[in-house]
Amino acid sequence: MPADSTLIGRSVPRAAARRTVEGLGRYTDDLDAAGVAHVAFLRSPHAHARVLGMELDEARAAPGVIGVYTAADLAAVCAPWQTRLAALPAHVSPPQQALAGDIVRYQGEPVVAVLATSRRAAESALELAFVDFEDLEPAILPADIFEPAQGFDAAAWAPQLALDRQIAHGDAGAALEGAAHVVRHRFAFGRQTAVSLEGRAVRAEYDRRSGRLSVQQSHQAPFQMQQIYAELFGLPLGRVQVAAPDVGGAFGGKLHAFPDEIAAVALAVLTGRTVKFTADRLESFLADAHAREAQAEARLGVDDDGRILGMEIDFAAGLGAYSIYPRGSVGDALQAIQLAPAAYRVPSYAGRARAWFQNKAPVGAYRGVGQPIAFALMEQMLDLAAAACGLDPAEIRRRNYREAPDTPGPTETGVVLESFTTRACLDTLLAEMDYAGLRAEQAALRAKGVYRGIGLTSFVELTGVGAQLYGPQQVRVAAQETCRLSLEPDGTLTCRTSVTDQGQGTLGGLAQIVAETLGVAPHAVEMIAGDTAATPVGGGAWASRGMALGGEAALRASRGLAARLRAVAAPLLQCEEAALSFSDSGVEGPGGARLSFREIAETVAFRPYLLPGGTAPALEVTESFLPPDLPYLATNGVLAAHVEVSPDTGLTRVLGFWAVDDCGRIVNPMLVDGQIRGGVVQGIGAALFEECRYSADGQLLNGSLVDYRVPMAADMPDIVVRHIETPTHQSALGAKGVGEAGTVGALGAMWCAVNDALAPLGTTVRRQPFTPEHVLSRLHGLEEEFD
């Protein structure tokens, strides 16, 4: 981008925000139409059961009921599906269908669908539907897989192994043997869910005359869903439209294909009625994608100077009953062991990740996928090593950071880095937070029985992930992002992008790029996104790709359109193309001669005979982008948390939080900082509050917002955000992704901070979230010490 750009790098408010504050957002559940039919589901109350029979006649006869449907009914129109990952042939998920057949495998799995004229009627009729279940033994991962509680019968617990992957370089065992200090720690990561404020929602319409299926869905990846619906319903792609209206938050939770949503679409196909399904909060907790549930045991060896010699991580993830469709459920486990050593020189490393299917809700993507776990593991181990050799936590990190690569290339575990600026991030961070001052204060307060802690986390985030992730797995997911930019005959600009926006503000950022290149106001660029019938094909929103990939596509399309406009305008203004510049929605030549975009567009559209040759190029340019030489654009940063833990109540208060991130060129600082702050708060929520708690027989114990605690305003600190800007050379724009950075690093920073606070009390937390109960039972030795 030109150095003198006036819009790139500015916090321009985005157009979409205005609609929302006036109450004019359009979310899926807002799209009612006369005659829309509402679906409600009878879901399995058991984690694992056999369906012996059903009595549905009373429900069928209830007022307002259009029909009551079972697996067999929907199977007539909707094919079954099965998650397969070609590169992991041993990862075998049971086949799935829109409604469960003979066996239910998790509590909340939909079994019967009631279609009625109103949601209330559908829910009332559900009360009259009866399904006879025979309880089966559920498989549930034990609370401590490395040291199962007494009485745990390993022989009776026989869930299916879903993944066993090892990566290694050097000889980690030998390195640990020869190390001056070896530290060990055991970790348990709680099962979480995305908790977007808007539940999943879908509205489907099937026109039997034309055979066209039109689906509005609160989703991140409309083109993925178009593929899936076309396949399941046997329709050509061109007859399936999937559009995402405004989406009330997603965070990975709306990246999958869920049985209840597919069932709603199947009912539209089967009955020819417009069908709507909106998950209520209990359904969301039961049947949304869960994530993160894992345990790990790690060992890290350092020499006397605190230099890392070797590390071992044994990682065990608890998946759900199915591998989530279509992307699978192995992301957390694979990313955790691959990324843990990404920021540091680890000469010898052995990581093993296993995962088991169990009778719980399926696991899918949640902001950061595996990366928050990876860095929580690594950073906690570094703190333990620092303590073992008497080093300051900041110093041990500085001593072990890897060097920036001279040329882009993979680390030992295959993380491809183009640049690496963690050292600069750390320096900025320590200065911003007055690290030395906080350490002095911490020491002084400890003497008074006040326990404060500081936690640092250095992270690498994989953003703008390309086709190398899902291509080899033969998962049909588009990764390239595309922009189609048109100058309309009325002189306005329409930008159609394949990326989608669930609140990140990506569309506002793209409008800034177009506006900057073509000399218009950002709000004058009409943005169209999230509709398979209206935009070019692409991934949508996943792996922080909006600005990194979609932004570059928009820049290229803008430049391409600028070139065409110059070619048209130059002969009309009788000057060289190079002498033309763009401003105020027009083209200006030397001496101030101007043509407005409207004049140019009208000439091209209606009077091309005025142009040399009597014809003009189309004023529409389509450009696509994926990094040409890299599988993704890795970013890095350092976060710090400052906390106080009360040994009396076990409560943790977050006193301060700092983030220094390098996401390359920043298009809109206000949007970027919003991503980081929102991400950090999700990470703090993970650390302190959030967990989907299941009983030993697979019953979700906390399916409401009262019982699943989320971070609220009064719990959260202000967050200082600073940037180092190292543009990627893969694109002209230079932007990398930022959507997950805060979440990726915050868990580790919190883990380290809480344990730093507890250090003088001689204990550590090891189970996230660090609830007061967990802190107190660790302090009072009620949960076995691990050393």
Binding site: A17, T20, A121, L197, R281, M670, A713, A714, I719
Partner: protein, 164 residues
């Protein structure tokens, strides 16, 4: 045979919604948020939990911020109801502007409730301090923003710029 949930016990309600008189015959069990969304098409009021926890459905009834999911429409009989669509008095407008300027919304699903909550709190003399604003917002869940921009926007409106 259960009673028809639609027919059982309908009631007539009258209220002023965003300054306009409304008169409708509805099932007695209809909550205010469903009434506004379903009957009046005022979809600016959002539902995030339907049991009074998330605050997304917060709107103004006779000047007080209430949970639209916890109040039956009949309980608002005779009341003046203001939803986000009608929040265009000077204070409401100032809040809207500040929310846009500060990017105090991402997905926007919590925004209508945030605006109603802040409008009541500021009207009642909320002091321009960050902790006070955070406390005032403590019944409104936002999954996206991390709250800081919302606090900034509120302080812009109550003149607490230097409280930062």
């Amino acid at each position: 045979m259960t009673p028809d949930p639609e027919a059982a016990g309908t009631v007539r309600v009258q209220m002023a919604v965003n300054g306009r008189p409304v008169n409708a015959e509805i099932p007695a069990c209809t909550n205010l948020a469903d009434f506004l969304r379903g009957e009046l098409g005022l979809t600016g009021t959002h539902l995030g939990c339907e049991h009074g926890v998330c605050g997304a459905c917060t709107l103004m009834v006779d000047g007080a911020a209430v949970r639209g999911c916890l109040m039956l429409a009949v309980q608002a009989d005779g009341a003046e109801v203001t939803t986000v669509e009608g929040l265009d008095d000077p204070l409401g407008r100032a809040l809207r502007e500040a929310f846009v300027a500060r990017n105090a919304l991402q997905c926007g699903f919590c925004t209508p409730g945030m605006l109603a909550t802040l409008r009541e709190a500021i009207g009642a003399g909320l002091v321009p301090e960050r902790a006070a604003v955070r406390a005032a917002l403590s019944g409104n869940f936002c999954r996206c923003t991390g709250y800081e921009a919302i606090v900034d926007a509120a302080l812009d409106v109550i003149g607490g710029r230097d409280a930062r």
